[in-house]
Symmetry: C2
Subunit: 81 residues, 2 copies
């Protein structure tokens, strides 16, 4: 069976996110002043061939650990849709 | 009130995603061969000051339209958590 797995990779909360800060500055220049913080990460959509959603999640977990996320700077969340 | 709004920006389905293709190649080199497709987009977490979640969503919608997403190449989805 084919599962669509979403991996969200975000910068750790303890770290500065200069890309997010730049976007926040851009929003304020456009007149959107009610946004108080912006953090930017990645969304990775995987199409995984697996026999169960548990197995699909395990594969996504392995992919995140080995390639998609850098644990020194990022954390990840896996959801199956 | 403070709302945490998530904007997911993904490349349009009709378009090639070379970054995703590169990651898929990387996964296969690592021995993860059950992943059949990879697409990579952005996740933007906004902290929005608004009186209701509807208003927060409207602000995120405006931000996405004006700055966060390029409608020629990307679509976006807004969720409030």
């Amino acid at each position: 069976m084919n599962f669509s797995v979403q991996v969200k990779v975000m910068p750790l909360k303890e770290l500065l996110d200069p890309q997010g800060k730049a976007v926040m500055g851009g929003l304020q220049n456009l007149g959107i002043k009610t946004v108080q913080d912006v953090r930017i990460g990645k969304t990775i959509q995987l199409q995984v061939d697996a026999s169960s959603s548990d197995e699909a999640k395990k594969i996504a977990e392995e992919a995140s650990r080995k390639l998609l996320a850098n644990p020194v700077m990022e954390y990840y969340e896996i959801t199956i849709n």
